[in-house]
Amino acid sequence: MDFELTSEHREIQTLAREFAASEIAPFASEWDRDRRFPAEVFSKLADLGLMGVCVPEEFDGAGCDFLSYVLVLEELSRADAGVGVTLAVHTSACTLPLLMFGTTAQIAQYVPPLARGEALGAFALTEAGAGSDAGAIVSHGTESATGWHLAGTKQWITNGSFADTFIVFARTETGVEGPRGISAFILDASQVAVTREEHKLGLNSSSTVDLVFDTDVLADRLLGERGRGFGVAMATLDGGRIGIGAQAVGIAQAALDAACAYAKERRAFGKAIGEFQAIQQKLATMATEIEAARLLVYRAAMLKEHGKPHTVAGAQAKLFASEVARRQTSEAIQVLGGYGYTKEAPVERYFRDAKVTEIYEGTSEIQRLVIARSLLGELGRPS
């Protein structure tokens, strides 16, 4: 057992850290305040190969492993979690499922532009009546002479206003209820319309939209087998959760960094507040929980990289890391006191950004369900 990153992993981590420190972190507060999607950052990330970290070189990716991608997500999220989620959805919810389920022709057409960062990806599963209960979607696809007619509405679609390629889920099988009647499709930006940009608590540098579509697509836009779309969605989320775990670790680390820096500088009762045990206790707990979360995330990433089952490990990593992020960003505000509650300091942003990691890509309740079912088997399933 070896907990050391390889020298290559460290170099990739350093690259992402240095890039984030000079190209993202100084502007993150401004993007948050102005609710601005920093498109220019993604073209710079593309130049460095960071929009296709774990995509094979033959499809214009950087050819690194999944852990490298997780390290990049962690470092970018440490500077701006909105940038982190944009990259996470682009990569693990669009590019990777295309690679996993696409035909040779689909991969050749869609993956290289995504991996080069010339196109941005999105994933459209959630609907007003179908969140955790993803099998309840009502968007539908009907077979036509040349392919499919797809119609429906989606909500909370990350990257929606800026994406070029969408993976969209619709019910295609009549008479089949729930998850089994769903298929996945590949749509272009021209085939969907954005009807609303969401106003969110955090992640304000990322785009989250409502979509409508009512369009004819050729048969070659079906991703994976007909009626097996739910499997595509679940496999996507299995990997995506690890990315969200990395995002949560990055946010929590940023909060710890800010709390430590403040504890060394701020003086009260004639001492730096870091000299008080009350503050030391907080920082020690923060650091320990963050490190535990990080190891769970890295372990899940390595299991996925080695082709081993990672559903439960990913759920555990995401569950734990997101709760650590929510709890410890709050602690960081406590360390900074009144200053932490203002927009002068970045920790209130970390706190707002962290909350969603307990919700998207499967809520904490769903993660616990996944974990419980692995313990209890059929007993854990609803009868």
């Binding site: 020298s7 290559e8 170099e11 990739i12 690259l15 240095e18 890039f19 130049d47 460095l48 190969g49 960071l50 970290v53 070189e57 950087a62 050819g63 690194c64 490298s68």
Partner: protein, 259 residues
């Protein structure tokens, strides 16, 4: 153009630096990185060859074998290969002994241009380039903030207190650049992944025809006698903020005729 860039692996500025009391040498067990000033020299070398569309950039260094990990960043940025002189006999080299070993390695490379960063971020000597140029018997331009090459001449602009000195020299030459000359590029992921496959030659002193007695401690001409922390600043003035600090600072600056 064939450009050699002299580079160094240094302790990460973020880690605590300690000096071993016995040897009076810097403890190098901390995480090592490419000397940040060297990134400017590598960037300049890459740009010169990108402009002409041809040439080679070779990194030359003296240090322990594990220095390769840090130097690989230069390969990831785009340099073609690295030559690392690594030898037990070279441990403890001062600037004079280091310049000897580097000059011997550079003689083998026969580069049109030898580039240096302005200084090592660990020892901050900022004289190694002069010693190497002297050993190679080549012209030297230091503190260069802008560099152009035409045919067999280089022109360096050196920033001074009063403006710029523009200095020309025939090639081959040695140039030390400042950190104002350019903004070093980030290595790309492809660069990082490809760096491992680029030639990384670790050579001994005898491999480069160097006399071991002229390197390391034996070849050093300086000795560290004692070490002490810098003295506290005597003439500093501390202004405690009792509500009138701003006025006190303005008064101080006016007194010094800075406002």
């Amino acid at each position: 153009m064939r450009i050699a860039v002299c580079v160094k692996s240094v302790p990460d500025a973020g880690s605590a630096r300690t000096i071993e009391s016995g040897t009076k040498r810097l403890d190098r067990s901390a995480d090592a990185v490419l000397n940040p000033y060297d990134a400017n020299a590598i960037e300049e070398a890459l740009r010169l060859n990108e402009t002409s569309g041809e040439g080679e950039v070779v990194l030359v260094s003296l240090g322990p074998e594990k220095a390769l990990d840090a130097l690989r960043k230069g390969l990831a940025m785009g340099a073609d290969r690295v030559v690392l002189v690594s030898d037990e006999a070279a441990i403890g080299s001062d600037l004079v002994a280091t310049s000897y070993a580097l000059a011997k390695a550079l003689e083998r490379e026969d580069a049109d241009l030898v580039l240096f960063g302005q200084q090592g971020s660990d020892s901050d000597g900022a004289v190694l380039w002069a010693a190497v140029a002297d050993r190679l018997r080549r012209p030297l331009i230091s503190q260069v903030a802008e560099l152009t090459v035409s045919d067999s001449t280089i022109t360096g602009k050196r920033q001074t207190e009063n403006g710029y000195d523009t200095i020309q020299a025939p090639l081959p030459a040695v140039v030390a650049v400042t950190d104002a000359i350019n903004e070093p590029r980030y290595p790309s992921l492809k660069g990082i992944m490809g760096a491992k496959k680029k030639p990384q030659d670790v050579v001994s002193l005898s491999d480069i025809g160097a006399d071991a007695t002229r390197a390391g401690e034996a070849g050093s001409r300086t000795t560290v006698m004692t070490l002490s922390p810098p003295p506290p600043r005597g003439d500093s003035k501390k202004i405690e903020d009792d509500g009138s600090a701003a006025a006190a600072i303005v008064a101080f600056l006016e007194e010094k005729k800075l406002l």
